[in-house]
């Protein structure tokens, strides 16, 4: 991890907290999932936490971000309360989508999440409209599309880049590139480097998505570019997926080797915090414990919440 000095301690701790919340939630889901208490397929974000945390620290509630199917990380980082996410996973009416959405469809108007879609690429064009809407309605906010490398295969991705560039739309395209589309390695699903070609349309930034400071810096630049120019930018974060595409088993693809130390954004960041004395071991432990208590509360809340009324099939 490269040494950087510009980061303020409270921002550093906020990013750590975000990453740990995403990780510790995933770790709770793993043993529970086979018990069928959650009614939804889940796409976990273990290993990818730095991308969400490093981006969202620069975003405000008025910035509207749409997501794909892998929602937990970016949604929590953007501000979705833990308990409304967990209740949604449990299919309870107190969930963020009123038990109509599940893991892949999360909404939170208060924190600028007008939704996510299980249709890969489906939301990218929507982010262009959100950004253009922000501009036309005189909001300071921007649109953000958060998608994976697989989504860059889809025609709608390229249509969206073109549209945003031509119409000068304040939108950030964030590609969370874990090198995999389900089991297909990137080299077999995308011929070109999408970031390079995006450069024909708009300013492009690249970050190491396993290093939260790298994401923090590059996302800071990219978001500032969009805010100041009121036009588009593209941020490409390379990272690693630790789990299988869906569900709670570890990935075992021979072409996706994981080093649980070097590839772990949390291990790397905690080492940095200790080395630079931004945090003490005691403070780090306290963060983890506090999140455990939040999780206890969120799961208890979800379990105590009602299922939707069977009579209310229609919204």
């Amino acid at each position: 991890m490269t040494e950087r000095t510009g980061i303020r301690p409270e921002q550093a701790m906020k990013m750590l907290r975000t990453m740990r919340t995403i990780r510790q939630l995933s770790e709770r889901i793993i043993p529970l999932y086979p018990k069928d208490v959650m009614e939804t397929p889940v796409h976990l974000c273990i290993g990818q936490e730095a991308v969400s945390a490093g981006l969202c620290i620069h975003l405000r509630d008025e910035d509207l971000m749409v997501l794909g199917h892998r929602t937990h990380g970016p949604a929590l980082a953007k501000g979705l309360p833990l308990k409304s996410l967990v209740a949604e996973l449990y299919g309870r009416t107190t969930g963020c989508s009123h038990a109509r959405g599940g893991s892949m469809h999360v909404y939170d108007g208060e924190h600028g999440i007008p939704g996510s879609s299980a249709i890969v690429g489906g939301n990218i064009a929507v982010s262009v409209g959100l950004g253009l809407g922000r501009k036309l309605l005189g909001s300071e906010g921007i649109g953000v599309a958060y998608f994976g490398d697989g989504a860059t295969d889809a025609g709608v991705f390229w249509e969206s880049l073109n549209f945003a560039a031509l119409k000068e739309v304040p939108v950030l395209f964030l590609c969370e590139d874990n090198g995999l589309s389900n089991v297909m390695p990137k080299s077999e699903h995308m011929f070109a480097d999408p970031a390079r070609i995006a450069g024909e349309f708009m300013p492009v930034y690249r970050a190491d998505g396993t290093d939260v400071l790298s994401v923090y810096e590059e996302a800071g630049r990219a978001v500032a570019q969009v805010r100041e120019s009121r036009g588009p930018a593209y941020l490409h974060c390379t990272t690693k997926r630790w789990m299988q595409h869906q569900g709670v088993l570890e990935d075992d693809l021979p072409y996706n080797p994981i080093d649980p130390e070097k590839d772990c954004p949390i291990v790397r960041f905690e080492e940095f915090l200790l080395r630079t004395r931004l945090a003490t071991p005691g403070e780090l432990a306290a963060v983890g414990e506090e999140i455990e208590r939040d999780l206890d509360e969120a799961f208890a809340f979800a379990e105590a919440s009602p299922y939707p009324d069977p009579e209310a099939m229609e919204v």
């Binding site: 009614e39 939804t40 397929p41 299919g91 038990a99 109509r100 959405g101 599940g102 892949m104 469809h105 299980a118 249709i119 890969v120 690429g121 697989g150 989504a151 295969d153 889809a154 025609g155 709608v156 589309s181 389900n182 089991v183 297909m184 077999e188 699903h189 995308m190 299922y307 939707p308 069977p310 099939m313 229609e314 919204v315």
Partner: protein
């Protein structure tokens, strides 16, 4: 004969036809190296090589457009759409290009492509891993729509679809992929398109259903036996072309009709079958035609069990053709 699951029968159908005809190619997301998310294409890449069974980008529009180009000039592509719910990026290619190829070329060109796709609910997949979209495609002249409900039919209909000169949507009821087992003829086995099947004979009411709903209707029919009514179940097997004769014959015999499908009611294919009875068998009908269907909502996340027709709802539908 070999006992197979519906899924194995599809794999066997693909293998048989790939052996038979080297113009047949299989491709789609994760179908090659991985053998498909449901394993329908397992082993095909090893057996036939990467040229004839390959992975594609996450690019439904591109997959189908490419298949069309192959089909119009001498190949027999069998692209897979991973879940029918993901077909919409390719909807334009299917509806605007493939379906109209024969007509707009004055019959000069055909598009012998089979789009295979798992469809339907019952695996708790939520909104986008559960839908039954057959009606959109039935509404598009130029397409054939085929839905098997048994392993033997799956193989025989798939082979017929591949041999057909026109584009076929081959919809596979994923809920019964592994649970439905049956005897499947080895090697060559052909079930013609446009010919339905009487699943169960009965005198008192005709139930038309397809895909995974056949099983549901069989359970309902058993329950009706207790009430002393015998139910005839008709599986059209292909919605387009539709075996009108078989349905009408049955309705004329029983005097009653219930149509069952998972798809939402409004604009569902059940309405078409009800209209058929109204147009051509009204004098034989002794009660109202009933539809037992999904609801006019998106496919739900937690309420799947209520959304999908179950034997009780089918029984109620049948009873309503008597009590009105």
């Amino acid at each position: 004969m070999t006992t197979m699951t519906l899924l194995q029968a599809i794999n066997d159908g693909l293998r048989t036809e790939m052996k038979n005809d080297d113009r047949v190619l299989v491709f789609g997301e994760d179908v090659g190296r991985n053998g498909g998310v449901f394993r329908a294409t397992e082993g095909l890449q090893e057996e036939f090589g990467e040229e004839r069974c390959f992975d594609t980008p996450l690019s439904e529009c591109g997959i189908i457009g490419t298949a069309i180009g192959m089909a119009v000039y001498g190949l027999r592509p069998v692209p897979e759409i991973q879940f029918l719910d993901f077909i919409y990026p390719a909807f334009d290619q299917i509806v605007s290009e493939a379906a109209k190829m024969r007509y707009r070329s004055g019959g000069e060109y055909t598009c012998p492509m089979v789009v295979r796709s798992p469809y339907g609910g019952g695996i708790r997949g939520g909104h986008y891993h559960s839908q039954s979209a057959e009606a959109y495609f039935c509404h598009t002249p130029g397409l054939k729509v085929v839905i098997p409900s048994t392993p033997a039919d799956a193989k025989g209909l798939l082979i017929s679809s591949i041999r057909d000169e026109d584009p076929v949507l081959f919809l596979e009821p994923k809920r019964i992929y592994r649970t439905m087992k049956g005897e499947v003829p080895d090697g060559e086995h052909v079930v013609p398109l446009g010919k339905g099947r009487i699943v169960r004979e009965g005198r008192d009411c005709t139930v038309v259903a397809w895909g995974a709903m056949i099983e549901t209707c069989l359970k309902a029919a058993e329950a009706m036996e207790a009430e002393g009514r015998t139910i005839e179940i008709v599986d059209p097997r292909t919605l387009v072309p539709l075996d009108e004769e078989l349905i009408l014959e049955s309705v004329k015999k029983t005097g009653r009709l219930v149509v069952v499908h998972e798809a939402p009611r409004t604009g569902g294919f059940g309405g078409e079958i009800a209209a058929l009875a109204a147009e051509k068998a009204i004098a034989w009908l002794e009660g109202p035609v009933r539809r037992v269907t999904g609801f006019d909502t998106p496919f739900p996340y937690t309420l799947e069990g209520l959304y999908m027709p179950d034997p009780n709802r089918v029984v109620r539908g049948i009873q309503q053709t008597f009590d009105w």
